[in-house]
Symmetry: C2
């Protein structure tokens, strides 16, 4: 590619990024829950929107990114969002970041940071720090209960040839 074409593509990509981020921020501004919004795109089209629904849906997992992932999966009738990217008004918390991995998203674009979220009272940064600690050092007690039946559940799954993997 010539430098001119490279520069054109780079500017075009930047224009798209601004457009999709503006949509995510619009969803955050119109949110009926916390001030967070997201869109998921595929082939440069918005396939789903999401905003924080924790308090309105009584669902602690209903962050903007997870709402957008659920809506995108419904739209595309799949549990695998390979080929899709998410634009989110704020850096995903560990729950949403892990959800992006599970959903097999290609890329995450964000604007506000976890520290800015902490500054207005959200626990994102605190939870990131908790996850870095070993289980026995975490504020939330995580206790192993030995049960010899538990592993059999996994053994049956491993042996099952009819399973739907993800």
């Amino acid at each position: 590619m010539t430098d001119f074409i490279k520069e054109y593509h780079s500017l075009k990509k930047r224009k798209d990024d601004i457009f999709f981020m503006n949509k995510a921020i619009e969803n955050a501004n119109n949110s009926d829950g916390g001030p967070f919004g997201a869109v998921i795109i595929k082939d440069k089209n918005i396939i789903s929107n999401g905003n924080n629904k924790v308090t309105v849906d009584n669902d602690p997992s209903a962050h903007a990114e997870i709402v957008a992932i659920r809506n995108a999966c419904k739209e595309l009738n799949t549990f695998n969002l390979e080929g899709c990217s998410i634009y989110t008004s704020c850096e995903p918390c560990p729950m949403c970041l892990a959800a992006c991995y599970w959903a097999r998203l290609d890329k995450i674009y964000y604007s506000n940071t976890r520290v800015e979220a902490a500054n207005i009272g959200f626990s994102d940064d605190f939870i990131y720090k908790e996850l870095e600690k070993s289980n026995d050092a975490k504020r939330l007690p995580i206790i192993k209960v030995d049960n010899k039946e538990a592993i059999k559940t996994f053994e049956r799954w491993a042996a099952n040839t009819n399973k739907v993997e993800y």
Copy 2:
């Protein structure tokens, strides 16, 4: 307390733990998705059940713990599960662990480990390791898009006196 009473309470607690963990494993064994199950308890009563629903509901966030959290919140009509504990057949992945923090659960009890989950093909351990890396070292690209409108969403939230916090 005398030693006898202490020992009685300890044995009783252990019996309860086994009972609730067996229920979580039962949910894992009867799962229509991945081999994971959970129960949430309050005052020694089971208030919700959950099993993995990722592939049957086309929802990458529908792990057993998150399904159980959503069901418990519906049951108690709240987004705050303080006073509740979760028993889960497997150590929560980072998504579910963070969801337990957001839901304000008191305690997590688990049986199978993240390494045992990895051994039958699940990404839990991989995602834990990814979360430990800085954003620019992660396998999933996480890109900051500067947008001066984004922070205004947070400023409006901070200034709003009618908001429902969580």
